[in-house]
């Protein structure tokens, strides 16, 4: 475990209201998984998806996880994002064990430290572009007016061609994903989780998103974890893992560090 690399200042994140964008000074360990396992029960039988997974992701770096369909990529990502329960193993966020915290604490950690980007964009249909972008700020204690002002500023700076009052269903796929990227980054999270972020986009929009995601994330110093089928992510990643079929017949997949 590389906990010695952390400093107290690195554990806090610039997510409080009115804070300025601050860059992470050094590449610290943002996420560490130790001996993580996941299994599910079907027809009275327990099936192990992966066992004893060890993984690290550093801030300011892009970490890529690849694997075939059904290998457990999304399951691993959900576990990393504290959306699923962890029965075995440990998850550390900036050196702090988070896997066994209660539902409310996990939700608080997600709202403060995580930014999500999904293949399906995951924008809230009932909210406008502005409200979708302001949501993480509202969850982090911003007043409504301050959150809306900051969201407006981000939209103006990064996606100026998208009208703030439009509803998600009025936007193209590429536009929706760009809004989703802004929403994931606006509260300057320490960790950005992207599940097939370019899966539904054409090559032009995919390249645009890829570049923007990597550029902004590096600028903010966030740890970016990308799960994708897209080989083109390999060249822009700093670390690369692959979920491969496991040699143990009782276990479906194993995580192998490639780069």
């Amino acid at each position: 475990m590389e906990q010695a690399a952390y400093s107290s200042s690195e554990l806090s994140h610039p997510t409080t209201p009115n804070s300025k964008i601050t860059l992470m000074p050094v590449k610290v360990l943002a996420i560490e998984l130790q001996g993580l396992s996941q299994s599910y029960r079907t027809r009275g039988e327990t099936r192990v998806i992966y066992d004893n997974v060890n993984f690290t992701a550093k801030s300011g770096e892009v970490t890529l996880i690849m694997g075939t369909s059904g290998s457990g990529k999304t399951t691993l990502l959900r576990q990393i994002a504290l959306l699923d329960r962890t029965s075995q193993g440990e998850i550390y966020y900036f050196g702090e064990s988070v896997a066994h915290k209660n539902l409310a604490k996990k939700a608080k950690i997600r709202s403060k430290q995580l930014g999500f980007i999904f293949q399906s964009y995951a924008l809230i249909e009932e909210f406008s572009v502005l409200e979708n972008c302001a949501l993480p700020l509202l969850m982090n204690g911003y007043k409504k007016t301050a959150a809306m002002a900051k969201a407006r500023e981000y939209i103006h700076n990064f996606i100026a061609d998208i009208a703030v009052n439009k509803q998600p269903n009025e936007l193209s796929g590429g536009e929706q994903q760009r809004v989703a990227v802004i929403r994931a980054l606006i509260h300057q999270p320490g960790i950005i989780i992207a599940d097939e972020p370019t899966g539904n986009l054409d090559s032009h929009n995919a390249n645009l998103i890829k570049k923007e995601l990597v550029r902004i994330a590096k600028q903010l110093g966030s740890a970016v974890i990308i799960v994708s089928h897209d080989d083109s992510f390999i060249e822009c990643s700093d670390a690369f893992y692959r979920l491969e079929p496991c040699v143990d017949p009782q276990v479906k997949s194993q995580l192998v560090k490639v780069k």
Binding site: F116, I124, L135, M139
Partner: protein, 404 residues
């Protein structure tokens, strides 16, 4: 997240479902308040009306008015009264005439002896009134029991049984109204009110001695039978008979059997009824009303619970995509949504209470003459239990549905 922002988001996202909670709670609470207030008032009225009556039996004949008059003007009528009076448990026998008329009553108050100044005011009342002319005997079917105090501004008046007895026997002009008439006039500022009645049979005058409260739901004026002719017209439908006032109401059934046996040998067909017959009838109606009302309330509550939980489940399923995003991004909706649901349901209850207070209560007052506080308390208890039950079910449903 700030509590205000959290609630605003919940409100923004669940406006319609919250309106549904508000509306359904408003409707169901209105029903519960109405049913409880109605049942309570009806029950109280039935209990008090029959409790306050002097126990008595009513003897009547299915004959014409002239046949009755002929009977009572002969010795046969006098003999009958004498025989009845000799029976055990019979206290008094009084002939009566009952008629229902549309009257316009004008009342003028008069100051009593212990008040020096002579203030007075007029008041009138219009409506259908039962006038009962009763033979002046004591005890009478008119409820004269109890000691009555009346507050009139700075004065307090006391009316004793003795005054009633004395007046009833000696004052031929005395007219005694019941509670419904009492409500028609101002509360007494005097023990004596001079009245003038205008009806199609002419104008009658009399004196109302205080106000008696026998909780009857019909307006009744009791007058002496000897003064009844001033109130009657030829075409009035008159009910004639004899009140047999009893000593012990517990022996009512026994006395009734004895009198039935006694009258069986008579050449006339007599009908003996008791005010308890009416009470039993009212009690049966009350019981049926209670049964239907409580069943209706149970059905309403069950339907409310079912509708709200099904509606909530449907909404949570329909919005599941967005709710998953909320959950993933760290917004746990359970707490703000529970607060909003509780607030919406309580607002519905509060609005229903205000509606019941300003619209339903006056209606019930008009119907029964009183509204019992205990009915309101019961209604609140039931409604708050329903609020707690629905909200608990709602939270449990949310806990199952809002964690992805």
């Amino acid at each position: 997240m700030r509590a205000g922002v959290s609630l605003w988001l919940g409100m923004r996202f669940f406006t319609r479902p919250l309106l549904m909670y508000f509306s359904l709670f408003f409707v169901v609470s209105c029903c519960v308040f109405t049913l409880f207030l109605t049942i309570g008032s009806y029950e109280y009225q039935v209990d008090r009306r029959f409790a306050s009556k002097q126990p008595h039996l009513t003897l009547s004949q299915d004959s014409s008015d002239s046949q009755w008059q002929t009977l009572m003007n002969t010795t046969e009528g006098d003999n009958l009264k004498a025989v009845l009076l000799q029976q055990d448990n019979v206290l008094a026998v009084s002939e009566f005439i009952k008629v229902r008329k549309w009257l316009h009553l004008n009342a003028t108050t008069q100051q009593m002896t212990d008040v020096n100044s002579t203030t007075a005011f007029d008041k009138f009342s219009v409506g259908d009134v039962s006038i009962i002319g009763v033979e002046r005997t004591i005890p009478t079917v008119i409820p004269l029991g109890g000691l009555n105090y009346y507050n009139a501004g700075m004065y307090k008046f006391k009316i004793t049984n003795l005054e009633f007895v004395a007046d009833w026997l000696t004052n031929p002009e005395l007219v005694i109204p019941n509670a419904v008439l009492d409500a028609s006039f101002f509360p007494p500022i005097s023990q004596q009110v001079a009245i003038k009645s205008v009806s199609n049979s002419g104008t009658s005058t009399g004196q109302i001695k205080a106000f008696l409260n026998d909780y009857s739901d019909e307006s009744i004026l009791y007058v002496g039978i000897d003064r009844m002719q001033t109130w009657l017209a030829e075409d009035d439908i008159k009910e004639r008979g004899i009140y047999i006032t009893l000593q012990d109401s517990r022996k009512l059934a026994e006395t009734r059997v004895i009198l039935t046996g006694l009258l069986a040998s008579s050449r006339h067909a007599w009908l003996i009824t008791s005010w308890l017959d009416e009470k039993n009838k009212q009690k049966t109606i009350l019981f049926i009303t209670q049964f239907i009302s409580y069943s209706l309330m149970v059905i309403l509550v069950m339907m409310l619970l079912l509708m709200l939980i099904l509606h909530q489940t449907k909404v949570l399923i329909n919005k599941a995509k967005s709710l998953k995003i909320f959950f993933m991004t760290g917004y746990l909706l359970i707490y703000p949504l529970s607060t909003l649901v509780a607030t919406a349901s309580l607002m519905g209850v509060l609005m229903a209470y205000l509606f019941a207070h300003y619209w339903i209560t006056p209606f019930i007052l008009g119907l029964f003459g009183l509204v019992t506080a205990i009915s309101g308390a019961f209604a609140w208890w039931v409604i708050l239990c329903v609020v707690v039950m629905v909200n608990l079910a709602s939270v449990l449903s949310m806990q199952n549905r809002l964690v992805y």
